[in-house]
Symmetry: D4
Subunit: 217 residues, 8 copies
């Protein structure tokens, strides 16, 4: 496994990362880490690798677009001196284009999205052992759906930035694409975005694969 004892991993993101965590930054006892994939990641790391003490920090805030996250990235990520950083952003950048089509201020278009995400990577990558780029997603198996098509552009931007900057890329869109071939999306989320605990576990498992986690221990 790639993490070493006493490493600090900071997860930046939106509501999917936040899931009720303490804002702007949550960690430690009680429910400060929220109820989403970040909490599952912590639990699995602690249960499978009890001798490794890892500091998991949740810097997700509900409703954030990449523009919002960039604006607070120095305060909520860089200033925490993480060893590893995970970025999962973009769902709201896209969603607002479809649920509030008349309010362009609330959405972020692809070009700006790419700039925002790259700026975050650049600011942090030389200060950490590694950067994770977790793709945004829409649990919509129909590739012709307008929002899914749009999301695919953002996923592609992530993939491309991950490759350019040597980030570990986790493709949640692909994960859900495959899952939805087996179960209907409503098994995980009525709104195709906010996962229930099963979804959080799926995402944590996928994230941990990218960490060379050994589940057979």
């Amino acid at each position: 496994m790639i993490f070493e004892n006493m490493d600090r991993i900071v997860f930046a993101g939106d509501s999917v990362t936040d899931m009720g965590s303490t804002n702007p930054v949550g960690e430690g006892l009680f429910d400060h880490l929220g109820q989403g994939y970040v909490r599952e990641v912590e639990s699995m790391l602690a249960a499978w690798y009890p001798t490794l003490n890892l500091r998991i920090t949740n810097s997700g805030i509900s409703g954030n677009t990449s523009r919002d996250l960039l604006a607070r990235f120095d305060r909520d990520v860089v200033a925490l001196h993480p060893d590893w950083v995970s970025i999962c952003i973009g769902i709201n950048d896209v969603w607002r284009q479809f649920d509030e089509p008349a309010i362009p201020d609330d959405a972020v278009l692809p070009e700006e999205y790419a700039r925002n995400v790259e700026e975050m990577i650049v600011r942090i990558k030389d200060r950490v052992k590694g950067v994770f780029l977790l793709s945004p997603y829409y649990m919509e198996p129909n590739r012709e759906d307008a929002m899914r098509r749009r999301m695919d552009e953002y996923v592609a931007i992530c993939a491309s930035l991950a490759e350019k900057h040597g980030c570990r890329f986790v493709n949640f869109q692909k994960l859900y694409e495959e899952y939805c071939r087996i179960q209907h999306s409503s098994r995980i989320a009525w709104d195709r975005v906010h996962p229930n605990r099963i979804g959080a576990t799926l995402m944590a498992k996928e994230f941990l694969k990218a960490c060379e986690f050994d589940f057979s221990r």
Copy 2:
């Protein structure tokens, strides 16, 4: 318009009909009618036809399947002596097959659905001036989606029963099919089921068309 002064119209259904109305039956002052299409129907009738006093009653209860509605149909519909009855049921019959695939007790399969709805029609149709059958729906434009396919079976059952028993049929599935060619479903509902106020207005408009409502007054 088909309604006459002092007619009573009872709307039976699930959460889409209920939308926060008083349970089991809501009507009259304050928010007893809830926030969904039933409330919009009442408002439009009262605003466009101020001389007509129409008693609108909401007998929708959240989470009901056709089995639940049938079990309370005598108490919450027949016993109210309505002049007109509207039935909009079936979404939960289908949804539970996909979001709780391991709990078959919570869902209702097509054959039983058809029996339940027909039983309701038979119990009431000779006691009223008319019965409205409002189709269930899933705001999913992709006809290949498994839940949409399933829903189409239930919509077809409704259409067939409406024809057999001379009910006025309102096809909400078709309404949303057409709407979703123009706007993304998330404009109306993140979960593709519970409409926001715009959706409630669309549905009220569609219902009122079936009442020969004159919007140009």
Copy 3:
């Protein structure tokens, strides 16, 4: 219809406009637009003209007089760069003269009212495609009632300012005058001011008539 795709319409006013909207300014998802005529206007526009994306913003605040609204007009209206502005103010200017007769500070007399409203019009009219002036009202059919007589003065001021500055004038006092010939005012509002949903629908319908809205679509 007079609105064009992506137009922004800002509604300024008091509690009748506010009706539980987010303060000072509400728009977009959830209940930010409140439960009054503004919400109905948005719903009808979106349901009848689904291809038109219109940004509806509620800048109403409960209890405001024209003096209060003028004090925040730059922040809550002008700074939003609207394409259209609707102003509906004056009820509290009058009401406080009758329910708190010993507290003159809380009311606004006709001369100041005229100045306040005109100042708002002047500040915004050259920056927008059009200004709506919506009259204040008291749902009191008796023209001899002291408060109704007073309100009529304010309605006349509005009519005169609308004509002088080329605003689209919507006469809610007249609307309710006519409605109350058919139904008692308590059908719409016990306090003859705050409309229930039926009243909100009546007002939305009246507003949309002034927008050349085609209800027969």
Copy 4:
């Protein structure tokens, strides 16, 4: 003053009597008596006649019509063995005819109203030292208002029953008629029914006049 030491006076009625009192019956310490005219009556009796201990009981329940009050009259009035009984009912009998014109079940027409009130008087009058009949009212000075005209019929029924059965009659409609010549009704109540504390004091004063209360003590 007509009351004697240790007399018990029971006030039966609707929301105007209830005003937040404990239901079905409130008396004694804390706020069990509610915030309306009944509380003011108790306070004035205790402050002006400190040597007289009088038991004041509030049997008002919000929303009651004469039909509802009659149904509980034995339990909430007769069974309490009062020395004096005050009945103030009828506002909802009338109001529902105007704010819910399509729901006739919720209103009570004049003929039934007369029967209901007379039945109450008959059941109690021989068991008590005296019965007060307090008229319903609508704080509407315009006698041409439809609801006011209707209310006047009910007030007349009260006056006539009071005379027939020797009850002490308190005419609240007349009280407010006179008050509204001086102040606008909104000084007392926005909805022209539920009095604020000033109204409660006016009504208590009027009630106490009928008790030969000596305010100059």
Copy 5:
């Protein structure tokens, strides 16, 4: 009666004056005036003298000593430009000497009390038509009780300051002394300080006597 149309009367004090009023200053509609003697004073003035519009303002704050009231006197009394001012302070100055004997900071001794009250009178008396000095009190009929004895010193200071500066003096201690000869103090207040509504009415009546109020109107 001494008040003239449109006079403003400001009541400064502690919890006995406050009784749930809006802080720091409450007036007008709803319950802003609280539930104590100030509210009763307003109600009686409005009910007995409906043609007189009087602005009643409650500047009482729970827990205040004369030191606290003096510190906010300019903001909460002088700056309101009253026509009449009523001051009722001192209960907490005394009480804290007995319920928190080890915390001298929380109490105010007689010498300072006299200075504080006189300073308030001096600051306001030339700006108003009249000043009311309402004595503090302890509903303790036993003159040998230590707290009662202490309170008597404060009452005497008030009486003396009232005479020196020509204030209208209202002696609540004497009022309760007399009342307690007839009824036990627990009829009015379990803690011998905070009056229930009967006590508030007694105090309002006593205050109004000092205003030459005509109860026999």
Copy 6:
């Protein structure tokens, strides 16, 4: 000390015993024992005699008179099979005579009080190791106060019944009499009845003296 390992002591009473305990009967973990003298008794017993396990049960209910307590004595005391029983009742029997002088039903006069308390003693005394009779009290040092005088009658009844039936008598009236020579009653309770924690500790200490508790351990 008189208690033996595993003894159960049940405290019956009113609000002074209850003090927020679970109703009708509270014991064991968390705050089931309430915040009054019963809780202090348990804490001191457990802290001074850690080897003795004693089951302390709170059967106090707020507002109870001796009539109320007798009515539930079998269920809430006898049926619990206590080893010791403590009865502390009578405050409300007296208080209601003074704070609700017109509602005789709510109070209990001396003769009935004596009967009620004796009935409780008789029902339990042969089933237990001992009965404690804890006097009611009023923290009023003035023996001429009407309520204190009345309370003294009840205390005397208790003393006499304790002697007649061999109960251990704890005189709380005397305890507070002495305490009030040193501190004012408001140090313990504003209403002279409900003790704060200091009062609870005083009462627990007095109770434990009657148990031959050794504080010098």
Copy 7:
């Protein structure tokens, strides 16, 4: 893996099983399954074996001893017709012996514990595909601790009953024994009983091992 598609697994137990689940029985959408190991078991099963639909039911109730669970076993377990049953009970049987030593009614001694658990096994084992017996535990590594020693007796009873009746035995005491060699118990639970999410994950992992779950999928 031992479970087959559409199997129903019912988890009976106390607060460790319950963890906020709906009582008496919770399953399906939202948080009905609670926040403990049962939820983690469901999430892992669904995430690792998406094609298997398994119905997970939580029949845990906080504070239950084996006596309480036996009393409701027919209603909350047998009547649900499970395919598999898991029983995890005994912590409160032991705990009450130490935190409430004077209340023997609240605890269950070893002999009765053995009887209760065996009775549950006997009632269900022939109706299901398999029974899991999950040991109670105390996260106390010191075997000389009195409560740990006591708990070991109960664990031994479980082990012996599991062998006698062919149940699958999961030894949580051993799991935590080993974990506490690496981390302090306060990493999982301050009270050494109620696990945080890490503990829930550890327990779920241990349970799933007994199900031949393949984590390396």
Copy 8:
């Protein structure tokens, strides 16, 4: 007893001291002193020595380490001009090393702990009549437990600083060590840290012994 009339004693500490007291500093009426040993100390002092008025101030704040307490020591202790100061700190310094092993920022190691506590003593000791040093503790009788071993280091630091600076030392660790030979720690606290009321009484008794309190009075 060492305290003199009107002495002020300030208790600084963490959650064990705080126990729900008003933050940052609580004293006087109501529950400002919280529910822990500080409240018991006040109650016993007032009950056993009623002629002594002592001002007890609670400056405990939940979650504080010695670092946090030092940071606010001037504001919350020195500036209050106490006559005596009690310091009870260190539990969180230790606990965070075990329940959050990956977050070193939240814990305080022994060397810093010694510096922090000594700095507090030095800042205050010449301004007061005496300083109490109350040891931190962990109610863990097993001296081999890792957290207990760690706590023993901190207790030793306290003992040594108390001797060096002439503070009165209260050894809560020893108190609980002895108590736990008789009862299990769960009788006092499930988490071995936060005492219930019995524990608070034990601690108050131990503290008062160090004050030469005479319990046999």
